[in-house]
């Protein structure tokens, strides 16, 4: 097997991976950086983020406000030291992107413009129309091209981390173009592999979001933290799950039930605010978990709007006018017309909650370090945790920058502290074993299971049992089903046994990642007998700080269900309180 030597290997070339790579390249041009991704960097799912990135910039705002919004929005499951670091670094990172050319929207005087977002007390979301993630990704990718020390390995799929004597010393990946396996010996590894929304059938996530980065760390013994917290974004197109950004509501769009009522006022987010004049942290600017949950109740009451794709609500933006919609929400208009045949300028758009984001992920500390020496993680695949039980919109683009940068710094500090790669013989043995596992899957015959079949069953059980509202019964059923699917996974036989760009093989590997992540979601959900943020239990309807003001840690087992352990939340100054999104809050 061909072997490549590098100092820092980064798995994933979306926003977090690119930010880490640039941080490393800037800090020490002599460091060899391998940027490894299963897709070309500009295909990474960061490109699909629409609304913007939060960072305090205006004089009426403060870091304390951003901190309080984030911690309360996360239902007090955020680590408060990490949130402090996020809000303090956020403006610097966003200005850095501005210096690198990001086309942020501007005020008439040329300063950066900001917009309101759900759960935020002030306007602090920097945006580039409704393609903010796209512009962040392309700005980072294009900026990265000036650094000779960043060596890219586009369309390489990482199958395993190499762990020797308790240290992460590299990885093994498939070069998709040839089907050949390559070993990367590295002194440090950063995982920036994104989320895992594709374990659900109805999601805003692109096809590539299959939890591979999470699974790599998990199987290497790093716990997955707070995996039960899965964010539903309230406004996806019912036909395809395509996201319509929260900025639709930030700009003044409203949500209606079939009777034309702005129903959020009936779920603790009222009283109704004047049309076209959104008020911070109430009504349509409530947090995503609460808005999605309100829809669920409306549906139960029979107040949803029926469409051929299922029950929906209406997102009404007509009063914003064509000019505002074209200037600030052009993609929203384009997609509504293309995929739903509805023009938001003239008609309300049917929308419904859709799986969007994993609050949980690879357990890291505030320095983006995992408990495995030499392994770091950042972005959606990681859980620092700044999102707690519910992420506020526009905090994740900020997170990939702040903690992508931090992961780069930490990896460099680790390398400079004298970390060496593994001895060649040890690495060779680990690499050969990893290669053997992929070969076995490729050559297996007589199997009766298919990738598409198992994937469908997994998605179905996740949607049925791990959605907006959950119960012991449903979660236990899902756990049993996933255990069975993991067992049956070993009976998959590939149809395609050739080498070049074998997507049958890749999808099989991706399914393996998703099954592992899905089991961590349902087992952690089953164990958390309370309702907090995005994890709502019909059988335990209240938040239980006495027993569950703690992070869950799912610990991998190759043949059995994960063990779920707990870790205290870091609380520095904000004691758990009431999440008040009524118009009555101060």
């Amino acid at each position: 097997m061909e072997t490549l030597q590098t100092d820092v290997a980064i798995i994933g070339a979306g926003g977090a991976g690119l930010r880490a790579a640039i941080a490393l390249a800037e800090a020490d041009p002599k460091l060899r950086i391998a940027l490894i991704s299963k897709v070309y960097p500009m295909r990474s799912h960061t490109c699909a983020a629409e609304g913007g990135a939060a960072g305090v910039i205006k004089p009426d705002d403060s870091l304390e406000h951003h901190f309080n919004d984030t911690v309360g929005g996360g239902d007090w499951l955020c680590d408060q030291d990490a949130v402090d670091y996020l809000v303090q670094e956020a403006p610097k990172e966003l200005i850095q992107l501005e210096h690198w050319g990001c086309p942020w929207n501007r005020e008439p005087n040329g300063s950066v413009a900001v917009r309101p977002f759900g759960g935020m007390k002030k306007q602090r979301t920097w945006f580039a129309a409704d393609k903010s993630g796209f512009h962040i990704l392309h700005t980072l990718f294009q900026t990265s091209l000036q650094f000779a020390s960043i060596q890219r390995f586009d369309e390489y799929y990482a199958t395993e981390l190499l762990v020797d004597e308790g240290r992460c010393v590299g990885l093994v990946a498939i070069e998709m173009r040839s089907g050949q396996m390559r070993r990367f010996d590295a002194r440090a590894v950063i995982i920036a592999g994104g989320g895992a929304g594709r374990m659900f059938p109805f999601t805003t996530n692109g096809a590539i979001k299959t939890g591979d980065g999470m699974a790599l760390a998990y199987r290497a013994g790093v716990p997955l933290k707070d995996m039960e917290f899965v964010q539903y974004h309230p406004t996806g197109l019912p036909s395809t799950g395509t996201l319509l950004t929260e900025a639709c509501r930030g700009e003044g769009g409203v949500l209606l039930n079939k009777n034309g009522r702005r129903f959020l006022q009936d779920y603790g987010m009222g009283p109704e605010t004047p049309l076209g004049k959104p008020v911070f942290k109430t009504m349509e600017l409530g947090p995503r978990d609460r808005v999605s949950q309100a829809f669920w109740h409306e549906q139960k009451k029979g107040n949803a709007v029926p469409t051929q794709w299922g029950d929906s609500m209406l997102l009404d933006m007509r009063h914003l006018g064509e000019k505002t919609i074209n200037e600030r929400l052009p993609l929203v208009r384009d997609m509504s017309i293309s995929y739903m045949g509805v023009d938001p300028v003239t008609d309300p758009v049917p929308v419904r909650p859709v799986v969007h984001y994993m609050m949980g992920g690879i357990h890291t500390d505030i320095k983006a370090a995992t408990p495995l020496s030499g392994l770091f993680a950042a972005g959606e695949c990681a859980c620092v945790s700044i999102n707690g039980a519910n992420r506020l919109g526009s905090n994740s683009l900020t997170e990939i920058l702040v903690f992508g940068h931090r992961a780069g710094q930490s990896a460099m500090e680790y390398v400079q502290s004298g970390a060496r790669p593994a001895a060649d013989a040890a690495a060779a043995a680990l690499g050969a074993a990893a290669q053997g596992r992929v070969r076995e899957l490729m050559r297996r015959s007589g199997g009766t299971e298919t990738v598409a079949g198992l994937r469908k069953e997994m998605m179905h059980t996740m949607e049925q049992n791990a959605g907006i509202y959950r119960s012991h019964e449903g979660l236990a059923e899902a756990c049993a089903k996933l255990a069975d699917l993991r067992r049956r996974y070993r009976g998959i036989e590939l149809h395609d046994k050739t080498n070049v760009y074998n997507t049958d093989l890749l999808q099989a590997l991706e399914l393996g990642s998703m099954l592992d992540c899905a089991e961590a979601v349902t087992q952690s959900g089953l164990a958390r007998k309370e309702s907090r943020g995005a994890h709502q239990r019909l059988d335990f309807t209240e938040r239980d700080d006495k027993n569950y003001l703690r992070h869950s840690l799912a610990v991998y087992h190759p043949a059995q269900a994960p063990r779920v352990e707990y870790l205290d939340v870091v609380i520095t100054r904000s004691q758990p309180g009431v999440r008040d999104y009524s118009g009555g809050h101060e």
Binding site: Y40, I95, T143
Partner: protein, 247 residues
């Protein structure tokens, strides 16, 4: 809800098993709102797991699923079945080597993109602590449309010059160079000119305009190329005929 039976003719090529590309026909029952990508996914899941193609976002922003659909370069995720009659022919993007099936090799573009220096080369370096560069909405508008390129390669597949002269830097890379040249924060035009105003740069373009016609993001690379030509011509005059005007 409407369903429709359609025939897809898809180019297949596996370098390990095929001596040359061939077409394979699939019959698919499509829902009326489906795009060509949905039909391909349906084939992949239920008929033929060996079919290979790239896709991810299904919302025309990741740029993965560019392919020739009935002879035109299109994003499969934005090509609605309802707009086609008869057999739909799907092929890999023209002018690129085929890696396998609908997957093309795009090394050439990746190399050219890097060559045009698509990043800010600051006119005046600024520390983070000094805050953002001021840029008015009018200044932003000068380059904004060129930032919308998703690198989907449709313009390269449409460009007759790129087909004839593969060394031609091509529409997307030139448009991105122009994007940075037009940015009020940038001072790197001279460095980019070495690439884009060279023989294999803008002068290869015969202004057919096909690149702008096929762009799914309504970027106008043809316009960018013409602007670069005009500015380069002015450079030449300044340099050779009116050297006293040179700053």
């Amino acid at each position: 809800m409407g369903e429709r039976q359609i025939e897809l003719e898809v180019l297949r090529y596996n370098p390990e098993t095929d001596s040359e590309p061939r077409f394979q026909r699939y019959s698919v029952t499509c829902r009326e709102e489906w795009v060509v990508l949905d039909a391909l996914n349906h084939i992949k899941e239920t008929v033929d797991p060996t079919l290979s193609y790239r896709w991810s976002c299904h919302m025309a922003v990741c740029g993965s699923c560019g392919m020739m659909i009935n002879g035109e370069p299109k994003l499969a995720c934005k090509s609605f079945i309802r707009n086609y009659e008869g057999v739909i022919r799907v092929e890999p993007l023209r002018h690129f080597p085929v890696e396998r099936d609908l997957v093309t090799v795009i090394d050439d573009f990746m190399d050219k993109l890097k060559r045009v220096r698509p990043y800010i080369i600051p006119k005046q370096a600024k520390a983070i602590s000094e805050g953002e560069y001021l840029q008015t909405p009018a200044e932003l508008k000068k380059f904004k449309q060129y930032t919308l390129c998703i690198n989907c390669m449709l313009c390269y597949a449409a460009c007759p010059e790129y087909g004839l002269i593969p060394k031609y830097i091509g529409p997307a890379a030139i448009a991105l160079a122009h994007r940075y040249n037009q940015d009020s924060r940038d001072g790197g035009r001279d460095q980019r000119q070495e690439e884009i105003a060279a023989t294999e740069g803008v002068w290869e373009c015969s202004f057919v305009g096909a690149c702008s016609d096929v762009c799914p993001e309504h970027v106008d690379p043809a316009g960018a190329i013409q602007q670069v030509k005009i500015k380069s011509t002015l450079d030449w005059y300044t340099e050779h005929l009116m050297p006293w005007l040179k700053k």
